[in-house]
């Protein structure tokens, strides 16, 4: 009976296949498309973090805070401190996001629902306000991020783009696999448990606050990593990374893809990036309208996001995945 309850887990297979496909595809597809995927994956990191929070019932309107911190950390380290190794930058961005995430998280973990959403929004806008007024960091224009090195190797042009793409793919792959394990662990399940019934979790003997804090910091680190990669990929950072509209887009990606599986936020980020690039090219004035209308349709008719379409095909099944 116990054995019947354990199902096969296909997610690692799907993720690995996607990685292979992406790496193989990078040799063939045009550079702009590869760049698009790279951005989508970097954003996907932030959205996977958001997924962790949303699974615990918390909707953050402020993941842009950590995304921006990541980007600016990479930029400042590269431009002013002369640190340009990609792995050092990633570690630095993650560390900064973790520290700030912990400090904000200690305050924020007490709040739920709309208050949580608004407080996260307020925090990200504080950073935005700081950066807008900071002349040394280029104020509203931001500043350029120097090209990164890879363990002493400094490729240029096409090579640089390709290397950065590979690093991004591999990092996202590793993070996704790790998160997938996380979701299936006790701590992962407790996220849903908290969403469903906090009182019960406390009465089982677990600290809701501590669990949420861990999730919040983890989400911050993921957004920070996404920010570093985005800053390096674009070669430029500006305060808009921290503006509430950026966080709103992450939220949109999470809604679009779904939060049921680690691959879902990545799917959401990818679809959004593709639609954005085509919409901006063919109907620049309709881009946000498309976004808004899609969002309404998703909220109304597909609350589980695109990922739930894939699940429906498998038919009604009482045992959830993982």
């Amino acid at each position: 009976m116990a054995a019947a309850a354990l199902r096969r887990d296909f997610t690692p297979v799907i993720l690995t296949a996607a990685l292979v496909l992406l790496l193989a595809g990078s040799a063939v597809v045009p550079a702009y498309l590869r760049f698009l995927f790279e951005l989508a994956l970097a954003n996907g990191l932030a959205v996977m973090g958001l997924m962790l929070l949303m699974r615990a019932g918390l909707v953050s309107f402020g993941q842009g805070l950590y995304y921006c911190l990541g980007g600016y950390t990479a930029g400042i380290a590269g431009s002013f401190l002369g640190i340009s190794d990609v792995f050092a930058l990633l570690a630095l961005g993650a560390a900064v996001a973790a520290v700030v995430g912990l400090l904000c998280g200690l305050l924020i973990a007490r709040y739920r629902e709309i208050f949580f959403a608004m407080l996260t929004l307020a925090f990200t806008m504080v950073l935005y306000g700081l950066l807008i007024n900071n002349e040394r960091l280029g104020s509203t224009d931001g500043f350029n991020v120097p090209a990164p090195h890879f363990l002493g190797w400094a490729p240029e042009g096409e090579r640089l783009g390709l290397t950065l793409f590979v690093v991004t793919c591999v990092l996202v792959y590793v993070v996704a696999l790790g998160l997938h394990r996380y979701l299936g662990s006790a701590m992962g399940y407790l996220g849903e448990a908290i969403r469903e019934n906090e009182l019960r979790v406390e009465y089982l003997g677990a600290s809701v606050r501590r669990l949420l804090l861990v999730k919040y910091v983890l989400a911050a680190v993921l957004a920070g990593l996404g920010g570093v990669l985005t800053g390096l990929a674009v070669g430029h950072v500006d305060p808009d990374l921290a503006n509430w509209t950026t966080s709103g887009e992450f939220l949109f990606m999470a809604l679009l893809g779904g939060i049921e599986n680690v691959a879902a936020p990545l799917l959401g980020a990818l679809v959004l990036e593709l639609v954005r690039s085509y919409a901006l090219e063919y109907a620049p004035y309709l881009w946000q309208m498309t976004l808004g209308a899609t969002m309404l349709v998703i909220i109304l008719f597909l609350p589980g996001g695109l990922w739930s379409l894939a699940r429906m095909r498998k038919g009604a099944d009482l045992t959830p995945e993982l």
Partner: protein
């Protein structure tokens, strides 16, 4: 004399000036099976809420195995070995019975911080089925709890509480919302599992037939005070109890006073 398991000393709690628990002192010994009766608003649930740390008393003390637990949080009290059930079963409605119990077991084993080991691993799932079998609800393992019959939900609620091997179990109307015919079946299953675990059991109940049949000792509450405490037959025969609790078998008021809020 050995130390009592639980000791409540002169507990008082008032809501908006209205005394809900008024100078209650009582002790529970190891392996006791105690029923609590009383009309609606007599202070039974408030008492349970105070013992489990959900409410803090205005004055008085709760001692568990000799230690003061009055100011501890529900979480800390759970960790010490006092667990409770709820009038309305507190579950994770969108998860399956299996997942509900797995989570309970993981927390009980203090592995809630484990973030890499799969929760659904063979030995743990086996353990959960063992737990569920103990309450005869293993057949529902794959069902989401939201859609289950009240009795099953109640049993799962208690099974989850029991996963931490507690020393004291407080049951807040374990049979409320369950049909008359099923009550005895539910209590049979429940108490068998609980007594086997070696824990002391304190249960709030409105149905005098059930109380008479299952309790070894009976405590009667009225207007926040303990008005009788002793052998069931004696307590039920007490004229004060008969007057205030009105416990003629078959007559069972439902629900609890509103001040017990979230747990009601």
């Amino acid at each position: 004399m050995t130390e009592p398991l639980l000791e409540a000393l002169r507990l008082k709690k008032a809501f908006d000036g209205l005394a809900a628990v008024d100078d209650v002192s009582l002790t529970i010994a190891e392996r006791e099976l105690v029923g609590i009766i009383g009309a609606n608003g007599a202070g039974k649930t408030t008492f349970v809420n105070i013992v489990t740390g959900y409410l803090k008393p205005d004055s008085g003390q709760v001692r568990f195995r000799g230690g003061d637990i009055t100011r501890l949080t529900p979480r800390e009290i759970t960790r010490l070995g006092i667990v409770r059930s709820f009038q309305v079963a507190q579950l994770f409605p969108d998860l399956t019975v299996l997942d509900n119990a797995l989570i309970a077991l993981a927390v009980a084993a203090r592995t809630e911080g484990s973030f890499f080991r799969p929760l659904k691993r063979y030995e743990l799932v086996e353990q959960v089925f063992g737990l569920l079998r103990g309450f005869a609800i293993d057949a529902y393992a794959a069902h989401k709890t939201a859609a289950l019959p009240q009795g099953v939900r109640k049993l799962l609620d208690i099974a989850m509480a029991m996963s931490g091997r507690p020393r004291l179990v407080l049951l807040d109307e374990p049979t409320s919302g369950v049909s008359k015919d099923e009550k005895f079946l539910l209590m049979d299953r429940l108490l068998e599992a609980l007594v086997q675990s070696g824990a002391s059991v304190l249960f709030i109940e409105h149905d005098m037939e059930l109380v008479e049949r299952y309790a070894q000792r009976l405590i009667a509450f009225n207007e926040g005070r303990v008005i009788a405490d002793g052998a069931p037959a004696a307590v039920l025969a007490d004229p004060q109890v008969r007057a205030f609790v009105g416990g003629a078998p078959g007559k069972q008021p439902q629900g609890e006073r509103p001040t017990s809020d979230a747990l009601a």
